[in-house]
Each structure stands twice: as structure tokens, then as C-alpha cells.
């Protein structure tokens, strides 16, 4: 038996969140004795990069090296993963929550007659039946869920388990699949993506700015601190609504939900909709000149002060740490 993990890659590297999914699968299999961990990767990517899935816990990577799969065509990815899953005779598929992962997993649930459980935050309890904890109400609560199907797809939330890096390189097996034309009914005509930056949903540290930053021309202060911390940058909804920052940086209830180790909020008052996007963070720092800002109630650490004074000093202090 084996557990299959759907891994994604971007800009030539396997995504860190996908490696976390591999480590989750490894921890799961150690608990449930479901056998070896096999990862599946679709499209063009180097074998050396794929072998790295081994350090996170995979013993084998099945590489469907078909260039038509290099872009994330949802139906085609779902069909390819379904074929690999069936050939392997797996009972469980693990993946990391992402824009593509969520869309692919939903179709797979039907193809595989599997229960799809999303926002998984812990390993299942298999003592009697199959119980699993997931995050609901946008991080405001958890639900203990009983799963009724033999086949299971678990879409794992960031930080559900620690990323392992003590495994050996995985064996790469390249396979060719027959994928009919109707799986390619949608075509991706172009992408518009920032490259080289740390991606917000995957970042371990996030620095976000709100309307307290007074204008997009002041974002250099946010970016300066983010650069020293190795962080991604985010913003509040009003900031993306008025166009100071692009929508994919909007953190909150209807934007990106983040779960970093450290979230630094600057000049954000802390509306409940913003908190819903950050409440899975391990540690929250709030910098705001208004001591009454509701965000302080949700913070671990806070500084009451003017962002324009505090940010340069804080950036220097982080620099001095190195």
C-alpha cells in the first residue's frame, strides 16, 4: 500500500507547501501503516528538484513529464492524478491547499469516489472510525469530522505538521499517460505573476500594511522590513480596494488566508474580516499609533507608535540581529 501526494511546482522548484504535504503524508503513514509515500508531479521540472521530495519523506516520485501539464489546467491535472492514484491502488491522497490544489481536489473527489476533507489541521484519529480535525469559519473554529468513505483526500492547511528534511533522495519514475482532448477544454492564454518574490500564502513571515501607511508611495517601509525578515508583503482590504496594492496581496476573510510563523501588521486597525485571514498565524505583532485599535486584542506583541517612526528603527534592529 501507499499514500499518494500531489505536489505542485512553480518557477522550477517544488513548492514548500507541497513538501509540507509530503511530510504530513509521512507522519500519517507512520500512524496508520499505509505504507510508502509516493509523490506525483505533473509537467516539466528537473529530476534533481523532484528528488528533494525525498528529504520531506517520499520514497518515490512519479513524474508525468508531459509539457501539456506544465500549466495548471484543472481538469487535466485531476485526470492525470486520478490515473496515477488508481494504478497505485492507493486509499489516501494528500495535497496542500492552494489555488490549483483546491480546484483539482474537488474533481478528484468525484473521480475517485473519495471523501474530500479540506483545511485539515492535524493527523486523523483512527482509534475507532476515522476522525479528523479541520479549520472552519475562516479559522474562527474547528470541526471534528467523521469520514464515511474508504477513499480519502485530505487538503492540508499550512503548518498542520512540521516540514521534515531528514529523508533520503526519492527515486524518480517517469510515466506517460493517455489524456484525452476533452481534459484540455480550458486553455491558459497567459499568466501575470510576480517572480522572485516570496509568495504570500507560502511565506513563513508576512508584513502587512493598512490605511495607516497613508499611501502606496510609503510601501517602501513595509518592503524594507519584509526584505530584512525574508518576508512576503500583504495588505488590508481597503488598501487593495483603493488600488494601493494588487488584489493578490489582500489578506482577510475574502482575500488570502495566511498561516505564517510571524505576522506583522502595520497601520491596520484589525477589523474582524482582516483577523479571519490571519488568525492561524503562530505569532502576531501589531504596530499602530492608536492604542485602542482592536487588533491589539488579537496580538501577541504590540507597539503603540507611528509606523513612520517605528518601521525604520525596527528594520535596523532586525538587520543588527544578523
Amino acid at each position: 500500500m501507499s499514500v499518494l501526494v500531489y505536489i505542485e511546482h512553480a518557477d522550477g522548484s517544488v513548492k514548500k507547501t507541497s513538501l509540507e504535504a509530503v511530510s504530513y503524508a509521512k507522519a500519517l503513514s507512520e500512524k496508520t501503516s499505509e505504507g510508502e509515500i509516493v509523490a506525483v508531479a505533473l509537467g516539466s521540472i528537473s529530476s534533481d528538484e523532484l528528488a528533494k521530495a525525498g528529504s520531506a519523506g517520499a520514497s518515490k516520485v512519479i513524474h508525468v513529464n508531459d509539457d501539456k501539464l506544465s500549466s495548471g489546467i484543472i481538469q487535466a491535472h485531476a485526470e492525470a492524478v486520478a490515473q496515477v492514484y488508481k494504478q497505485l491502488g492507493a486509499k489516501t491522497l494528500i495535497l496542500s491547499k492552494s489555488s490549483l490544489g483546491d480546484a483539482v481536489a474537488a474533481r478528484l473527489a468525484i473521480k475517485l469516489d473519495a471523501a474530500l476533507i479540506s483545511n485539515v489541521v492535524d493527523l486523523p484519529d483512527t482509534g475507532s472510525g476515522y476522525k479528523i480535525k479541520r479549520s472552519i469559519y475562516t479559522g474562527k473554529a474547528f470541526a471534528e469530522t467523521v469520514v464515511n468513505k474508504e477513499h480519502k483526500i485530505l487538503a492540508v492547511k499550512k503548518n498542520a505538521v512540521d516540514l521534515k528534511s531528514d529523508g533520503a533522495d526519492a527515486v524518480i519514475e517517469t510515466v506517460v499517460l493517455e489524456l484525452s482532448a476533452d481534459n484540455f477544454a480550458t486553455s491558459i492564454t497567459s499568466t501575470d505573476k510576480t517572480t522572485g518574490d516570496i509568495l504570500l500564502p507560502e511565506a513563513d513571515i508576512v508584513v502587512s500594511g493598512g490605511r495607516g501607511m497613508k499611501g502606496p508611495e510609503n510601501w517602501g517601509l513595509i518592503e524594507g522590513l519584509a526584505k530584512e525578515l525574508g518576508a512576503a508583503t500583504g495588505c488590508s482590504k481597503p488598501v487593495s480596494d483603493i488600488g494601493w496594492r494588487p488584489h493578490h496581496e489582500h489578506v482577510g476573510q475574502t482575500g488570502v488566508k495566511v498561516a505564517p510563523s510571524l505576522y506583522v501588521a502595520v497601520g491596520i486597525s484589525g477589523a474582524i474580516q482582516h483577523l479571519a485571514g490571519v488568525n492561524s498565524s503562530k505569532c502576531i505583532v501589531v504596530i499602530n499609533k492608536d492604542a485602542e485599535a482592536p487588533f491589539f486584542k488579537a496580538a501577541d506583541y504590540g507597539i503603540v507608535g507611528d509606523a513612520f517612526e517605528v518601521l525604520p528603527k525596527l528594520t535596523e534592529a532586525v538587520k543588527a540581529l544578523k
Binding site: G72, Q75, A78, R107, Y137, A141, T145, H248, T254
Partner: protein, 245 residues
């Protein structure tokens, strides 16, 4: 052209989430229910498409009688008629099966809904419906234009967006900024009272999962304030106490 918009009936985003009956039920006391915010974007875009293309627009909810005011609100915003599948929405698979059954009877060209509900955040119903109906499914869609039989979309990906094309029929999970939320006007509210709202019996389908208990996250301790002239102390705390640097 026939458009279906599936909506959820969920607690307002400002609701305090609490549970009752020994943490086995959502506590509805004092909670105001709304059209799911993402579904509301889908509905707003559908109303624009209806006006632009002369399409018919049906709104659907899988839920018990308490969701009817939410459906009436969708009618007031601009849907022509509503369908309520009269059952408790047990899980995403169960809901997707009900939607697919209605869609098979009515041959919609475009099925829109929010990228996810804000109660269970599954984000999977659109993909399941697409697979069941053999249609492409795309989510999260932040721009959607129809030219003849072609649908041009932008989908949000990590760090940006990708532009896609597909042919109708299609299922899409929507999010901002696909359209601006529409607030019903008085004429819409008046006409919504008499627009058809059909109640249909559910299919007897099974669910894949069931919630047995709920939990709230542990309460946050008090914030530790650091003086603004001593930011080095904050860095020290993050490194040595929180251990996040």
C-alpha cells in the same frame, strides 16, 4: 442563455462564532444570516451578464425553510426565479449532488457560485458539480467575460493571476473583483415578493463526512506591549521568547 447561481446562507462575517448543545450545534442566537460574500460576487456578475446578454437567471440554495429570506434577497438583487432544495445541507458532496441534479434537468449554460462558503470553507462544490456534469470548472475566478460561446476568465493564483478561455457550458467559483456587490433597490425588493420560488424535494444521496463536534481556538493571552523607543526589545522577544526569528 441560462445562468444558474448557487448561493449559501451563512452567518454575517462579523458574527461571533459560538456553539451550543455540548459543542455539537452552531449557536444561531443573535446571528444575522446573509448571502455568502463570494456567492454575492457571483450573483452580481450574473446580473450584469443577464442585462448584457438577455439571459435568464435562476438562483439556487440547498437548505431548509429558514434560507428563504436569503433567496428572496437574491431575487431582489436581480435573479428571475429561485429554487430551494428542501433539505439540510449535510456536506459538500451532498450539496453538489443536489445542484447537479437540478442542473441536469434545466441545461444551464453557465453555473456560478462563490469560490467557497464562509462557514465550512470547503471550496469544492463547483469542482464537484463540474465533474458530475462533465463540464470544465474554474476557480477562483476574478474576471469573467462572455463572447459568443467563449468564456474569458482570470483566475487568481499564488502571486498573480492567469488568463483562461473555455467554451460554454462551464462552472465557475467566483471571488472579488469579478463585480461589485449589488444592493437591492426598493423596486427589486417589491418585485422579489412575487417572483417564483420553487421548493423541490432532495435526492436521497449520502454524505461523505459528518461533523461530530466543534471547538473554538484557545483564547489569546494579553498582548505584550513594547515601548516604541525600544524596538530592539521586540526583536529580542521574537527571537528568544516567541522563537519566530
Amino acid at each position: 442563455m441560462k445562468i444558474l447561481v448557487c448561493i449559501t446562507h451563512v452567518p454575517d462575517t462579523t458574527s461571533k462564532i459560538q456553539f451550543s448543545d455540548n459543542n455539537t450545534k452552531f449557536d444561531k442566537s443573535g446571528v444575522q444570516f446573509i448571502i455568502g460574500p463570494y456567492d454575492d460576487y457571483a450573483l452580481a456578475r450574473a446580473v450584469e451578464l443577464k442585462e448584457q446578454l438577455g439571459a435568464s437567471l435562476t438562483v439556487l440554495n440547498v437548505g431548509e425553510v429558514e434560507t428563504e429570506p436569503t433567496l428572496r434577497k437574491a431575487l431582489a438583487i436581480g435573479a428571475d426565479d429561485a429554487i430551494r432544495v428542501n433539505t439540510f445541507p449535510k456536506d459538500s458532496l451532498f450539496v453538489a449532488q443536489q445542484i447537479a441534479a437540478i442542473a441536469k434537468q434545466n441545461n444551464y449554460d453557465l453555473i456560478l457560485m462563490g469560490r467557497e462558503s464562509i462557514d465550512f470553507n470547503g471550496g469544492m462544490v463547483h469542482g464537484m458539480v463540474g465533474e458530475m456534469l462533465g463540464m470544465p470548472s474554474v476557480s477562483p475566478v476574478m474576471k469573467l467575460e462572455i463572447e459568443g460561446n467563449t468564456v474569458k476568465m482570470a483566475r487568481e493564483i499564488e502571486g498573480g493571476k492567469e488568463y483562461l478561455e473555455a467554451k460554454l457550458p462551464l462552472v465557475a467559483g467566483c471571488q472579488e473583483p469579478i463585480a461589485e456587490w449589488k444592493i437591492p433597490n426598493m423596486r427589486g425588493i417589491m418585485s422579489a415578493r412575487t417572483k417564483p420560488l420553487q421548493v423541490v424535494d432532495p435526492l436521497e444521496e449520502s454524505n461523505a463526512s459528518e461533523v461530530i463536534s466543534y471547538q473554538l481556538p484557545p483564547a489569546k493571552g494579553a498582548v505584550k506591549l513594547v515601548d516604541k523607543d525600544n524596538v530592539e526589545e521586540l526583536v529580542r522577544l521574537l527571537k528568544n521568547e516567541a522563537k519566530v526569528l
